[in-house]
């Protein structure tokens, strides 16, 4: 398997509000390889959105603090990267699609200008005109020797023009119309039928589904190596949700990015992700290949969550719900954070936090991709009603 694009190690994020501290994300570890889709599910307030925004360091700090752990993106720990260098990772390195398509586009600019800006950012970085960061051994050193494959290099040769250098300039210097073509191609990529008209519209003249398609086009046009989708369909109508989800599924196959897909909807994750992490009260309580986790959940919370997912027919009986409520993250329960609501809870659950242990005892415990559950009594979970 190829090297992971992103390795998150024991990441903890807290919010300090007034005198209180909220433990929003605690000891989360993840690994994503290129072309893989990892889904994170959990209830509202379980910390999944905080996790999504902590990775590109998009959380306002303060109030948020990355307490411990590392976010290693292509070999560089983003926790240690300086504030001024962070923009260089975003866009072309890590792209993001947000939950709120209605407000995520700037109301003062036309669709064209906003997409053009994204494409220009990528273009200028590819050309080496502006500093960027894509990870690797010399992350911020872009003092490349001039060569004819960049415009800057070509310009240095124009002074003594040679045929090859002129050609390179002609090929590489993207003109207005080339940028326009590229903007149009990304609008077509997200299945917008009439891109020529859409280009000249302002965001307020578009529907929510359209705006989310444009947000997706904008994120993809920077060709990120990691794409974070933070509940991309949650704010949309059911029919539009299905359309955008179908689009996402098709695009996942087309783009070669690693994708972190955050959702509270189990169905959405089941359809898109290769692996799933179930979050509860800031921790990942169960992790594994999607099919395995759905077929054989090994954490009481996952089991309850699957049971609570609405079925399609009224005749299936009343909806089931999980007794109790999500704990207040300023005072999380000791030990296993699910124990106050758990049918299997015993004294040991109140003591130490159960480790994320492999379901198959024969599996190597350090592997990140096998089915694991953070429950002391995971073998008893299949017996639960």
């Amino acid at each position: 398997m190829t090297d992971p694009v992103l390795i998150v190690n024991d990441l903890s994020v807290t919010y300090t509000v007034g005198a209180g501290t909220f433990y929003a994300v605690s000891d989360v570890s993840l690994e994503i390889e290129p072309g893989r889709v990892i889904g994170i599910v959990g209830e509202t307030g379980c910390g999944k959105s905080t996790l999504a925004k902590a990775i590109p360091r998009l959380l306002p700090e303060p109030p948020a603090t990355i307490g411990s752990g590392s976010i290693v993106f292509r070999g560089t720990d983003l926790v240690k990267v300086g504030r001024r260098q962070l923009p260089m990772i975003r866009g072309t390195g890590i792209g993001m699609i947000f939950q709120e398509p209605l407000n995520s586009l700037n109301p003062a600019f036309r669709v064209y200008d906003q997409l053009l800006e994204a494409i220009q950012i990528r273009h200028y970085r590819e050309m080496g005109w502006v500093k960027s960061f894509q990870g690797g051994e010399r992350p911020f050193d872009y003092s490349k020797p001039p060569d004819t494959t960049t415009v800057a290099g070509s310009l240095s040769k124009i002074i003594v023009p040679s045929g090859a250098a002129e050609e390179a300039v002609r090929d590489r210097l993207a003109t207005r119309s080339q940028f326009r073509e590229e903007v149009l191609s990304y609008l077509r990529l997200v299945r917008i039928n009439d891109p020529e008209t859409i280009l000249n519209l302002y965001p307020h003249e578009l529907s929510g589904g359209m705006r989310q398609r444009i947000m997706i086009a904008m994120a993809l046009s920077e060709k990120p190596s990691l794409l974070i989708a933070d509940e991309p369909t949650s704010a949309l109508d059911v029919t539009i949700q299905a359309q955008v989800l179908t689009l996402m599924k098709e695009l996942i196959d087309e783009v070669q990015a690693a994708i972190l897909f955050i959702s509270h909807d189990l169905g959405v994750i089941a359809e898109t992700a290769d692996e799933i992490g179930v979050m509860y009260a800031g921790r990942i309580v169960e992790y594994g290949p999607v099919a395995e986790v759905f077929r054989d959940p090994r954490h009481p919370y996952t089991k309850a969550l699957l049971k609570a997912a609405p079925a399609h027919y009224k005749s299936d009986g009343p909806l089931s719900s999980i007794p109790g409520s999500v704990p207040n993250l300023s005072r999380p329960p000791s030990g296993c954070r699910f124990h106050p609501r758990c049918a299997l809870a015993r004294d040991v659950c109140k003591g130490d936090t159960p480790p994320l242990a492999p379901v198959d005892p024969a599996a190597p415990p350090e592997s990140r991709h096998i089915h694991r559950s953070a429950c002391y009594f995971q073998s008893e979970v299949p017996g639960l009603p």
């Binding site: 866009g91 960027s132 302002y202």
Partner: protein, 341 residues
């Protein structure tokens, strides 16, 4: 209603039509205020004149109010703006003085925009931290300064300290070139006279800076407040996530939306700046309409000039309405969600 040039034209015409009732109101009010109590005027103006002169004067100003008003309005509608008590025609004086005032106001507005708005952005960006407090101290001290005090201090201390001229438009009273526009800098540029252009700009700096400093608070404060409203919005976060540096996030994406409010307020202020020039022009000997207004109401021992006072108020009223109209047009330009109506 929409956003085409035709809609803009209709919008402007409508606004100009609304100017008519405003002007009627302004004229009636100022006329009554200036003419209500004029019984002893002619004796006061010509204390040692012969009876014939005083009688002629009384024939003009001693008549009942209504006929005086009717004759004033009739003259005004025919393009005759009247004359001062001493017989100097009002219109040519105003036509020569107004451009100088507009030049001063535009220069002050320019300073308010290029200094006041970035200060507001900085204050919002570092909200609650020392940069924010420094900016607040700066604009509040401007706001708290009375115009006459600021102008006098600048003329007496700051000007000499910086080597800036504190009197008039040019170093010579009459420049050696024709004054087409009566705007000192513009005339010097038209004449292609570089030394005089520099001289004119030097003369403009001090009065414009004082006017800007005193009124800058409104631009800074409004920018800061609307930036603080805009910054938590989702599109600012998406702009950051595109990989834009903090500078472009602030000055392109956030400020563009914050400016919508600031523009409206600046339009209102611009009208007020016109009136704010009265004291400043007097102190800096700037040959503008403010100085004319000061003389017209009898300031500095001059003889009161009623037709002139009314004319100045009319010009100020037009200035306020036009400034607001321009602000409303810009509002539509800046915010694509707004129709001109």
């Amino acid at each position: 209603m929409g956003r085409s040039p035709g809609d803009l034209l209709i919008f402007v015409l409508k606004r100009l039509l609304q100017l008519i009732p405003v002007l009627i109101g302004v004229i009636v009010l100022t006329f009554i205020c200036t003419h209500l109590k004029l019984s002893g005027l002619c004796n006061a103006v010509y204390p040692h004149a012969s009876k014939a002169v005083i009688d002629a004067c009384n024939a003009k100003y001693g008549a009942p109010l209504l006929p005086q008003f009717v004759s004033y309005i009739t003259n005004l509608l025919q393009g005759n703006w009247g004359a001062s008590t001493l017989g100097q025609a009002v219109y040519p004086a105003i036509a020569a003085d107004l451009p100088a005032t507009i030049e001063l106001v535009l220069a002050a507005l320019f300073l308010m925009i290029v200094i006041g708005i970035p200060l507001g952005v900085i204050a919002a960006q570092y909200g609650g931290r020392w940069a924010d407090h420094l900016v607040r101290i700066f604009y509040l001290s401007g706001w708290a300064t009375p115009t006459y005090l600021g102008a006098v201090l600048a003329a007496v201390f700051i000007g000499p300290a910086l080597g800036l001229p504190t009197r008039g438009e040019y170093s010579t009273v009459v420049p050696p070139f024709p004054q087409y526009t009566h705007m000192s800098v513009v005339d010097a540029i038209i004449a292609g006279n570089f030394p005089y252009t520099v001289d004119a700009i030097e003369h403009l700096i001090l009065p414009a800076s004082v006017l800007a400093f005193i009124n800058m608070g409104i631009a800074t404060r409004m920018t800061r407040a609307s930036m603080l409203e805009v910054l938590p919005l989702d599109f600012v976060r998406s702009a950051r996530m595109k990989g834009l540096s903090e500078f472009w996030v602030m000055y392109k994406h956030a400020l563009r939306n914050a400016l919508i409010t600031t523009t409206t307020v600046l339009g209102v202020t611009a009208g007020g700046l016109l009136a704010g020039t009265v004291v400043i022009e007097e102190v800096f000997d700037w040959p503008g309409i403010g100085q004319y207004a000061y003389d017209a109401i009898g300031g500095g021992g001059s003889v009161a000039n009623f037709d002139g006072a009314i004319a100045v108020v009319i010009v100020f009223a037009i200035g306020v309405v036009v400034a607001n109209m321009i602000a409303d047009i810009l509002y539509g330009v800046l915010d694509p969600r707004v129709d001109w109506r």
